[in-house]
Amino acid sequence: MNKKWILVLGSLTIVGIIAAILIYVFVYNKPHPDYIKAKTDFSISATELFVEFQSDTQAANEKYNGKVLAVKGSLSSVETTDMQTIAVFAIEEGLFGDEGIRMSMLTEYSDKVSQYTPGGEITIKGYCSGYNETDVIMEHCSIIE
C-alpha cells in the first residue's frame, strides 16, 4: 500500500515539475516574435501610410498599430545613435523638420541600410507602433528589397 502511494506521489511530483518547466519555457520565458519571418499584414507605400495616419489617425491606429507592415518608399536618410539605427522616409516638411515614417532597424540590418543611397527605392518591414502626430513609428525593422 505504502509503495503504491509513493509511486503515485512521485509520479505527480514529476508531472508537476515537467509542467512548471514547460510553463516557464513556453509562457513566462517565451521568445519575442521573429519580425523578419513574421507574416506581413499590410504592404503599402510610405506616402499612402503617412497620409492615412495624418487624415484619420483613429482609423489608421485601429488598422495598423501592432501590425507587421512592408512599407515601400524613397529612403531619405539614415540616422545612427549609440543604441539604434533609424531609416527615414520623409514625406513632408513639418514644424520641426521632416515628417514621415521612422523605422528602427534590427541590429543585423543596421549596416545594410546605411549602405543604401538616399533617394533610392527600398521596402522595409517592421512592427508599427503608431503615429505620434509627426511621424509613423516602426520597430524591429528589416529590409525586404
Partner: protein, 184 residues
C-alpha cells in the same frame, strides 16, 4: 529720438525672435523600472518625441506605448494588453514647462538644475507633476535628464491579481533626451 526708440524696439524684437529657439529630438529615451522581491522589470522606448522652447521653457513629450521594449515577451504583452491598453490609448504625453528656464544660459556650456511642471497623461488619466531635472548645454546640443516616480494607481492602470506581486506600486521613470537646435 523717435527713430532711436523704434530702432531699440526693433532690435529687442529681433533678439527675442532669435532667442525663441526650439530644441527638438525624435530619438529621446525613456526607461521605466519596476522593482519587487519577485522580479525587476524594465522597458525602454528610444523613439520619444520631445521639444523645448528655450525662451518660454515650454516642454512637450509624445510617447508611443507600443514602442516600449521589454526583455520578456510575456511582460510586453501584459503591458500593452492589460496595463496600458495600448490599442485604446496608443499615446502618452507630457505638456508643461521648465519653470526656471531663465536660469539656463543656452549660450554658455554647463549643467543647469531645472524644475519641470506640467501634465502627464497616460491612458485616460492626466496628473499634474512637479519634478526636478538637469539640462546640459553643449553648443547647439542640450541633454535633458530627469528621474521621477509615478504611482500605477494614479493612471487607472489595472494590474491583474496573477501578477500583482511582480509589479511595483510605484514605477521609476528615467528620461534622457539629446535635444538639437531646430533649424526652424
Amino acid at each position: 529720438m523717435k527713430h532711436l526708440i523704434t530702432s531699440i524696439l526693433l532690435i529687442s524684437l529681433t533678439i527675442t525672435g532669435v532667442s525663441a529657439q526650439k530644441y527638438i529630438t525624435k530619438t529621446g529615451h525613456i526607461l521605466f523600472f519596476s522593482s519587487t522581491p519577485m522580479e525587476d522589470i524594465e522597458a525602454h522606448n528610444r523613439q520619444v518625441n520631445a521639444a523645448l522652447d528655450a525662451e518660454t521653457g515650454e516642454l512637450v513629450f509624445r510617447v508611443l506605448m507600443k514602442s516600449f521594449q521589454f526583455e520578456k515577451a510575456l511582460m510586453q504583452e501584459h503591458f500593452n494588453e492589460n496595463f496600458v491598453e495600448s490599442n485604446k490609448f496608443p499615446n502618452s504625453s507630457f505638456k508643461g514647462k521648465i519653470t526656471n528656464i531663465k536660469d539656463v544660459d543656452f549660450t554658455k556650456n554647463g549643467t543647469y538644475e531645472v524644475n519641470i511642471e506640467g501634465d502627464l497623461t497616460i491612458k485616460d488619466a492626466t496628473k499634474r507633476i512637479n519634478e526636478k531635472g538637469t539640462l546640459e548645454v553643449n553648443g547647439d546640443k542640450v541633454r535633458g535628464l530627469s528621474t521621477f516616480s509615478v504611482l500605477v494607481s494614479d493612471y487607472n492602470i489595472k494590474v491583474p491579481n496573477t501578477v500583482a506581486n511582480n509589479i511595483a506600486k510605484s514605477i521609476r521613470v528615467d528620461v534622457d533626451i539629446n535635444l538639437e537646435k531646430s533649424a526652424k
